[in-house]
Homo-oligomer: 90 residues x 2
Protein backbone atom coordinates (compact mmCIF):
# COMPACT_ATOMS: atom_id res chain seq x y z
CA UNK A 1 0.00 0.00 0.00
CA UNK A 2 1.26 3.45 -0.93
CA UNK A 3 1.62 5.52 2.23
CA UNK A 4 2.20 9.25 2.34
CA UNK A 5 4.64 9.01 5.26
CA UNK A 6 6.80 6.46 3.39
CA UNK A 7 7.26 8.73 0.38
CA UNK A 8 7.63 11.85 2.50
CA UNK A 9 10.37 10.17 4.55
CA UNK A 10 12.14 8.93 1.48
CA UNK A 11 12.13 12.39 -0.13
CA UNK A 12 13.44 14.04 3.05
CA UNK A 13 16.18 11.44 3.43
CA UNK A 14 17.24 11.79 -0.23
CA UNK A 15 17.44 15.56 0.13
CA UNK A 16 19.56 15.30 3.29
CA UNK A 17 21.91 12.71 1.79
CA UNK A 18 22.23 14.76 -1.42
CA UNK A 19 23.37 17.68 0.77
CA UNK A 20 25.93 15.46 2.47
CA UNK A 21 24.45 16.20 5.90
CA UNK A 22 24.01 13.94 8.89
CA UNK A 23 20.81 13.16 10.73
CA UNK A 24 22.34 14.90 13.76
CA UNK A 25 22.99 18.16 11.88
CA UNK A 26 19.54 18.36 10.30
CA UNK A 27 17.75 17.30 13.50
CA UNK A 28 19.58 20.02 15.44
CA UNK A 29 18.79 22.65 12.84
CA UNK A 30 15.12 21.58 12.71
CA UNK A 31 14.98 21.42 16.54
CA UNK A 32 13.66 17.87 16.51
CA UNK A 33 15.26 14.85 18.15
CA UNK A 34 17.56 12.68 16.10
CA UNK A 35 15.29 9.68 16.79
CA UNK A 36 12.22 11.55 15.56
CA UNK A 37 13.89 12.63 12.31
CA UNK A 38 15.21 9.12 11.76
CA UNK A 39 11.75 7.60 12.24
CA UNK A 40 10.16 10.18 9.93
CA UNK A 41 12.78 9.48 7.24
CA UNK A 42 12.15 5.74 7.48
CA UNK A 43 8.39 6.29 7.18
CA UNK A 44 7.81 4.93 10.67
CA UNK A 45 6.35 8.10 12.15
CA UNK A 46 3.86 10.63 10.81
CA UNK A 47 5.50 14.06 10.98
CA UNK A 48 3.17 16.76 12.28
CA UNK A 49 2.66 19.56 9.77
CA UNK A 50 4.58 21.98 12.00
CA UNK A 51 7.60 19.69 12.42
CA UNK A 52 7.52 18.85 8.71
CA UNK A 53 7.91 22.58 8.04
CA UNK A 54 10.86 22.72 10.46
CA UNK A 55 12.55 19.80 8.74
CA UNK A 56 11.99 21.31 5.27
CA UNK A 57 13.36 24.59 6.49
CA UNK A 58 16.43 22.87 7.99
CA UNK A 59 17.01 21.35 4.55
CA UNK A 60 16.58 24.76 2.86
CA UNK A 61 13.60 23.42 0.95
CA UNK A 62 10.08 24.76 0.82
CA UNK A 63 7.19 22.47 1.76
CA UNK A 64 5.88 22.95 -1.80
CA UNK A 65 9.10 21.69 -3.37
CA UNK A 66 9.09 18.61 -1.14
CA UNK A 67 5.41 17.92 -1.80
CA UNK A 68 5.80 18.19 -5.58
CA UNK A 69 8.47 15.50 -5.38
CA UNK A 70 6.39 13.33 -3.06
CA UNK A 71 3.31 13.66 -5.32
CA UNK A 72 5.40 12.68 -8.34
CA UNK A 73 6.78 9.62 -6.54
CA UNK A 74 3.32 8.53 -5.42
CA UNK A 75 1.93 9.00 -8.94
CA UNK A 76 4.70 6.77 -10.30
CA UNK A 77 4.03 4.12 -7.64
CA UNK A 78 0.36 4.13 -8.66
CA UNK A 79 1.10 3.55 -12.35
CA UNK A 80 0.73 -0.11 -13.24
CA UNK A 81 4.05 -1.65 -14.25
CA UNK A 82 4.61 -2.08 -17.97
CA UNK A 83 4.53 -5.73 -18.95
CA UNK A 84 7.03 -6.47 -21.68
CA UNK A 85 5.96 -9.30 -23.96
CA UNK A 86 8.81 -10.99 -25.73
CA UNK A 87 7.22 -11.96 -29.04
CA UNK A 88 10.34 -13.77 -30.28
CA UNK A 89 10.09 -16.16 -27.34
CA UNK A 90 6.37 -16.75 -27.84
Amino acid sequence: MTLLRTHLGSTLRSARVAQGRTLREVAKSARVSLGYLSEVERGQKEASSELLNSICSALDLTLGTVLVDVARQIKISETPALIVVDEAAA
Copy 2:
Protein backbone atom coordinates in the same frame (compact mmCIF):
# COMPACT_ATOMS: atom_id res chain seq x y z
CA MET B 1 2.34 29.52 8.03
CA THR B 2 1.60 27.03 5.26
CA LEU B 3 0.61 23.72 6.85
CA LEU B 4 0.26 20.43 5.00
CA ARG B 5 -2.86 19.41 6.95
CA THR B 6 -4.64 22.68 6.06
CA HIS B 7 -4.17 22.16 2.33
CA LEU B 8 -4.86 18.44 2.52
CA GLY B 9 -8.12 19.11 4.36
CA SER B 10 -9.16 21.79 1.93
CA THR B 11 -8.51 19.52 -1.09
CA LEU B 12 -10.46 16.64 0.48
CA ARG B 13 -13.38 18.90 1.35
CA SER B 14 -13.48 20.43 -2.15
CA ALA B 15 -13.51 16.96 -3.72
CA ARG B 16 -16.37 15.81 -1.47
CA VAL B 17 -18.43 18.95 -2.07
CA ALA B 18 -17.81 18.73 -5.84
CA GLN B 19 -19.24 15.20 -5.69
CA GLY B 20 -22.31 16.48 -3.83
CA ARG B 21 -21.68 14.10 -0.94
CA THR B 22 -22.16 14.62 2.77
CA LEU B 23 -19.57 14.20 5.52
CA ARG B 24 -21.70 11.33 6.83
CA GLU B 25 -21.64 9.42 3.52
CA VAL B 26 -17.90 9.78 2.96
CA ALA B 27 -17.03 9.05 6.61
CA LYS B 28 -19.11 5.87 6.49
CA SER B 29 -17.54 4.74 3.22
CA ALA B 30 -14.03 5.50 4.56
CA ARG B 31 -14.83 3.82 7.89
CA VAL B 32 -13.80 6.86 9.90
CA SER B 33 -15.95 8.80 12.33
CA LEU B 34 -17.80 11.86 11.07
CA GLY B 35 -15.99 13.98 13.66
CA TYR B 36 -12.58 12.74 12.50
CA LEU B 37 -13.31 13.47 8.83
CA SER B 38 -14.68 16.88 9.71
CA GLU B 39 -11.55 17.76 11.71
CA VAL B 40 -9.28 16.51 8.91
CA GLU B 41 -11.19 18.57 6.34
CA ARG B 42 -10.88 21.69 8.51
CA GLY B 43 -7.14 21.12 8.93
CA GLN B 44 -7.54 20.59 12.66
CA LYS B 45 -6.30 17.02 12.76
CA GLU B 46 -3.38 15.27 11.05
CA ALA B 47 -4.78 12.30 9.12
CA SER B 48 -2.68 9.16 9.49
CA SER B 49 -1.38 7.86 6.16
CA GLU B 50 -3.65 4.81 6.41
CA LEU B 51 -6.81 6.81 7.09
CA LEU B 52 -5.85 9.31 4.39
CA ASN B 53 -5.83 6.40 1.94
CA SER B 54 -9.27 5.30 3.17
CA ILE B 55 -10.66 8.81 2.71
CA CYS B 56 -9.14 9.12 -0.79
CA SER B 57 -10.57 5.74 -1.69
CA ALA B 58 -14.02 6.73 -0.37
CA LEU B 59 -13.81 9.76 -2.68
CA ASP B 60 -12.76 7.55 -5.64
CA LEU B 61 -9.47 9.45 -5.84
CA THR B 62 -5.94 8.11 -5.71
CA LEU B 63 -3.54 9.46 -3.11
CA GLY B 64 -1.37 10.68 -6.00
CA THR B 65 -4.16 12.76 -7.52
CA VAL B 66 -4.91 14.36 -4.16
CA LEU B 67 -1.24 15.04 -3.47
CA VAL B 68 -0.65 16.66 -6.87
CA ASP B 69 -3.47 19.10 -6.08
CA VAL B 70 -2.16 19.74 -2.55
CA ALA B 71 1.38 20.33 -3.85
CA ARG B 72 0.05 22.79 -6.43
CA GLN B 73 -1.93 24.69 -3.78
CA ILE B 74 1.07 24.87 -1.45
CA LYS B 75 3.33 26.05 -4.29
CA ILE B 76 0.85 28.84 -5.05
CA SER B 77 0.65 29.83 -1.38
CA GLU B 78 4.46 30.07 -1.31
CA THR B 79 4.63 32.39 -4.30
CA PRO B 80 4.97 36.00 -3.18
CA ALA B 81 1.92 38.06 -4.10
CA LEU B 82 2.30 40.23 -7.19
CA ILE B 83 2.42 43.90 -6.27
CA VAL B 84 0.66 46.01 -8.86
CA VAL B 85 2.13 49.47 -9.18
CA ASP B 86 -0.27 52.00 -10.61
CA GLU B 87 2.06 54.31 -12.50
CA ALA B 88 -0.74 56.68 -13.46
CA ALA B 89 -1.36 57.38 -9.79
CA ALA B 90 2.35 57.83 -8.97
